[in-house]
Every structure is written in C-alpha cells, then in structure tokens.
C-alpha cells in the first residue's frame, strides 16, 4: 500500500471540499447582503443621477444625504417611526404583564377548573390569526377605535404561545422555593416579582425580543385598522410612500426610508445577536 499517496489524496480532497463549502457559503452571503447593499447604495444616489443611469452603477462617487432629508420632510416618516415605537413599546409592556400573570396562575397557583383552562388555552394555539382578524376588524370598528392606538394595540397584546413558553419555564422553578417563600410570609405577587421573574429572565427576554420583532414588522392588522396616515406604522407608511409617496416616483428617497426603517432592528440584532438567535430558535417562526 502506498501510504503517502493516500495521505496526499486525502489532503487534496479535504482542501477541495473546504473550497467548495466556502464558495457556497460566500455565494449565499452575497445573495443575502446584496439587497441591503443595493438599498443603501440607491439611497445615497441623487434623484437625477439615479434616473439618468440606464445601466445602474455598483457604486457612487457623489453620495448625497438629500434623500434622507426628503424622507423625513416630504413624507411623514418621522411620524410613522414614532407611531411604531409607541405601538411596539406599549404592546410589549402590556403583553409582558398579561402573559406573566397568566403563566404564573397556570404554573403555581391552585384553583378549581385549572386543568380545563389550560386545555382551552392550549387548544387556542392552533387558531390562525387570519381566522379571528375578520371579527376583530368588525369589533374595533363598532367600538369606534379605528385610527387609534387602542385599536391597534388591544387585539395584539396576548399570545397563547408566550403564555405556554413562560408557564413551562415557571414550572421548572423548584417547589421548595415557593414553600420557603410561604414560610417567610411572602405574598404570591411578591414571590412572582422577586423570585420567579428573575429566575426566568431568559424566557422573558426571549418573548420580549420575539414580540418586538413582530410589532416592528406588523403590517396586516395596522393596515386594516388605520386609513389615517397619522396613525400609520412603518410597514403601512412604506406602502403609502410607495404608492403615493413623493409626488413622483422617487426611488432613492424611497430607499432612504427603507434604510431608516430597517436600521433599528438590525442594530438591535447586532448588539444582542446571541440572545436574539437563541430566542428565535426556541420559539420563533415567521408567517
């Protein structure tokens, strides 16, 4: 047997494999990044230079920030932005309270009918949003809450799935801690706040992250419930800009708006990269 031949063959094969793998990975990375590059690039081209390019250039020598100024002045991007921020923060805050209380009741408190309620809650997990949106639309319209924050927020604050995630986590906290707290005369509520919530912080962070992403990208419900541009969120805002935008088809300014809208979540993601990815792996799906 010729060992040196086998050795060099194995080495060559390994090197070829690595090259193919890196090529494939780089190719996909380019496909992922290219739209981002294109949007940033287009957003710093001037309106006239963009429209005069029959063949789009892959770079620009005269970057301009005029488009960003336009995006905030010619259309009310700033307002959409603020609306989304308020919507995201308030929804997430209420959601956390509601979900935590419910999960605590299920995980720790004893009351008659608990098992039945848990089953009912869990069976609700199968119901797709599309099914209930119709009646909610009618309900909110009847209550006269169209074009209000209340109308936007109220139907979005509960998630059976988050209750389930948190309940599972709460149940892992050992019974002894609860008994010890009872012996010390701690009230249930204080126990929840001082013991349960700190211990289960990773899960709370997970559902916060998932909910923030969801809120920031919300499109369907806000579109149904708002037709007054003063209450548009960014998703509806960008659609509005696209259709009635700057008085004319101003793609560079549109891209500037897109950059501004995309930036907050990307920055948040880059800061909390590991937390976000762990959270999504545990409980996220898109669509």
């Amino acid at each position: 047997m010729d060992y040196s031949k086998i050795e060099s063959q194995a080495k060559r094969k390994q090197r070829a494999e690595k090259t193919v793998v890196y090529l494939l990975l780089t190719l996909w990375a380019v496909l992922v990044l290219f739209p981002f590059y294109w949007m940033v690039l287009t957003s710093i081209k001037s309106y006239s230079s963009y429209n005069s390019e029959y063949v789009p250039t892959f770079f620009t020598l005269h970057p301009t920030f005029q488009n960003y100024v336009d995006a905030f002045t010619a259309v009310s991007l700033g307002r959409y932005f603020l609306n989304t921020l308020v919507f995201t923060l308030v929804t997430t805050a209420i959601m956390l309270v509601v979900v935590t209380l419910a999960a605590f009741a299920f995980a720790r408190l004893e009351f008659r009918g608990k098992q039945l309620m848990i089953t009912l809650f869990l069976s609700l997990m199968m119901i797709p949003n599309e099914l209930v949106v119709i009646t909610n639309f009618v309900t909110i319209t009847n209550w006269g809450l169209r074009n209000t924050f209340a109308g936007l927020i109220l139907p979005s604050v509960t998630s059976v799935f988050y209750i389930y995630l948190l309940k599972e986590n709460f149940e892992q906290v050992p019974d002894e801690l609860y008994k010890a707290a009872k012996v010390d005369g701690t009230s249930d509520f204080k126990y929840l706040r001082r013991v349960m919530m700190p211990i289960c912080r990773p899960t709370l962070i997970t559902i916060t992250i998932l909910n923030v992403i969801e809120c920031w990208n919300a499109y369907v419900w806000p579109r149904l419930i708002t037709d007054d541009a003063r209450y548009f969120l960014v998703s509806n805002g960008i659609q509005e800009i696209r259709e009635n935008g700057f008085g004319r088809e101003n793609i560079p300014a549109m891209m500037a708006a897109v950059v501004v809208i995309s930036l907050p979540l990307i920055v948040l993601f880059l800061i909390f990269r590991n937390k976000v990815m762990a959270g999504v792996a545990r409980g996220g799906t898109k669509g």
């Binding site: 047997m1 060992y3 086998i6 050795e7 194995a10």
Partner: protein, 363 residues
C-alpha cells in the same frame, strides 16, 4: 500488529485566548506496543491518555513525532485508511439502527473488491455478535439494551471489520460496579481469542491492572512508567506512580535517612543501605505493615475495620498527614480497645522517594 510511537507530541492552542502558550496534551511519548498485547493507558483525567488514543486512531494528527503500524508509517494517514477499530466511551451506537445494522455498518462501507457479498457480511456480523455473546439481541435497538449489552455491540462493531488494532476509550466508565467486573473479564477474553493488539484508556487503576499485559501510567502528558502491572506496582519509579496504583492507596510519610537508617519521626524503622542522608518521602503499602509487639513503628490506633478475610487497621502517626490504613491478616489484628499499636515493616513494601524530585531512591 506492532505499534511504534516515536517522540509523539501533541499541542493544542490554549482555550483561554489571553494565554499565548499552547497546551501540551502529549509530550514526547515513545513506546513500542508488542503485537497481540492488551495495553492499559492509565492516568488521572486530563493527563493526555485520550489524546494518545486519538493519535493512534488518526482522529488527531500529532504536532511532531511518528506512528508506525508494523513497518508502515501511518502518522498522517486518515483514520479510515488505518484499519483500526474504536470503541467510544458512550459507545456511539446509531440509535435508529438495530444491533445487526449497527454491526453491519462498517462492512457496508467497504468498496470494490474488498466488499464482501451480502451473505459474507451477514456471516461475519453474526460471528462478531457470537464472539461478544449478543447474538440473541440482533433485532433490538440500542435503546432497548442495558449498558453492558450496548458496550458489547460497540465492541462487535469495532471487531467486525477485522481491525489491525482495537482501541477502547474508557470502556467501563459508563457501567455499574457489578457489570464493570464482568465486562472487563469479557474484554480480556475477547482480546485473547482474537489476538488483536488492543489499547484501552482508563482512569481506574484497578481496571487497568487487572486485565492489561502492560500498563502505561501518564501524568500531564508525560509518560511516567511502562511495565507489567505487578512490576509497576512493586517497583514504582516515582511518588506519583506509587500513589496512583493500589487500593487502599499507599501511605506516605515524611521521613529522613540518617546513616543508612530510615527515620519516621524519631523511630528508626528500617535499614536503608546505600542511600545518602536526606529528607525523603516514604511510601508504605497497606500490606507492608505487620502487627508486632516489638515492631519499630508505633502508631495511635483509631479504628479496626473487620472485612472478613483481612482486617483494615486505621491509625495515626506524627510523620504522616493522613490517617494510615494498614491491611493485616485477621488473626493478627489488634484488639479494638487498645490505644497504641506497633508494626514491623516489610522492606519490599516500603519505597523511598527524594523529597524534592519525588523520584525513587534505591541503593
């Protein structure tokens, strides 16, 4: 198949990135493993024994040094071309395959003219299963087997392709005490029957001593001693080896040599001819103590534990930090009520080591 390791060294980049220095897992290991022997690689965790096994197998390549199987230099050969069988600590049985499919797996990898016919594969797999005595379990899945049975399946899977060398990583560590005794005899039997050169890794000295033809004691990547189990036990080269082998462990006294006499505290307990005057560690095996009313070593008796055949005498002496444990014949045991006990020492059970280097001192 003879295995030769020449100046084998393996460095890993330090996991703590602030430290630039590499970790040396195996340091300048040279050893010739004779054909058809069962070798135990022994040492505390982190001593480099598993790395050595991976180097022999080819899962790791050495930083420097050579490995030969017989005359062939296999140093940089990938594991699949080495013809080794490997039994993993957790067995690594494929959970979705039955026992038979697991054993057949390596055979089905063979290509070209090496590939046996279907009937041949089945015959060889059944033979391997018979050898390890699991031929009645072939249709089960690994999760339906006990730990000991899984272990045998793993060995059968390693043996079925008729490897030149069989390697076992901590083969008994996942078994309970009773199964461990049984399985180690089984490994010995299988090795004797197949006559395949076998290397296994363990941190349990009793395990290594009981079945190996040769043991290799390692510490911090450096080989301490190689030899037949009894020889290493009787003739340790340093304090570490003497402490690592034997249960109950050797009793270590801080003593001195003065004028050819070993002194523990103020008692001259044993002649030490030919050793220059110095501070020493004196290791005394538990079986080296003989109760004797005129014995030179006097200890404070703490407790007498009766174990049937033998008796374990626990006592204290000023020169020894830990409690001393002596194993004596039951009929010679001291009475529990006494507070002092005197021992004579068997000279061949007492080993002297230099205080600073901990190397063995001999005349």
């Amino acid at each position: 198949m003879k295995i030769v390791l020449e100046h084998l060294t393996k460095r890993f980049p330090n996991r703590n990135k602030k430290v630039r220095e590499d970790v040396i897992a195996v340091n300048d290991f040279s050893f010739e493993i004779p054909d058809g022997q069962l070798i135990g690689l022994l040492g505390p965790s982190g001593c480099g024994k598993s790395t050595t096994l991976n180097l022999i197998c080819g899962l790791e390549t050495p930083s420097s040094g050579k490995i030969y199987f017989g005359q062939d230099d296999v140093t940089n050969l990938p594991p699949e071309n080495r013809g080794v069988g490997f039994v993993f600590q957790n067995y690594a049985l494929y959970p979705h395959l039955t026992v038979l499919e697991n054993i057949l797996f390596p055979l089905q990898n063979l290509k070209g003219q090496n590939r046996p016919s279907k009937e041949d594969m089945l015959r060889r797999a059944t033979e391997a299963a018979k050898l390890v005595r699991i031929d009645s379990l072939l249709e089960r899945r690994p999760s339906e087997l006990s730990g000991g049975q899984q272990q045998r399946v793993a060995i059968a899977r390693a043996l079925v392709k008729m490897p030149r060398v069989l390697l076992l990583d901590e083969p008994l560590s996942n078994l309970d005490a009773r199964l461990r005794l049984q399985t180690r005899e089984e490994i010995r039997r299988i090795q004797r029957e197949t006559k395949i050169t076998t290397v296994f890794v363990t941190h349990d000295q009793e395990e290594a001593m009981s079945i190996s033809d040769l043991i290799v004691v390692m510490k911090d990547g450096v080989v301490q001693q190689i030899g037949k189990p009894q020889d290493v036990y009787d003739d340790p080269v340093n304090l570490f080896v003497s402490k690592f082998l034997g249960t109950p462990p050797i009793n270590v006294f801080a003593g001195r040599v003065r004028g050819g006499q070993l002194l523990l505290g103020d008692d001259a307990v044993l002649p030490a001819p030919g050793i220059p005057d110095q501070e020493v560690w004196a290791g005394i095996r538990p079986e080296g103590f003989v109760p004797d009313a005129n014995g030179a070593l006097q200890c404070d008796l703490i407790q007498v534990e009766v174990m049937g055949r033998d008796t374990s005498v626990v006592c204290r002496h000023g020169a020894c930090e830990q409690a001393i444990r002596a194993i004596v014949a039951s009929e010679a045991r001291p009475n529990a009520g006494e507070t002092k006990v005197r021992f004579a020492l068997k000279p061949n059970k007492v080993h002297l080591f230099a205080k600073a280097t901990e190397a063995r001192l001999s005349a």
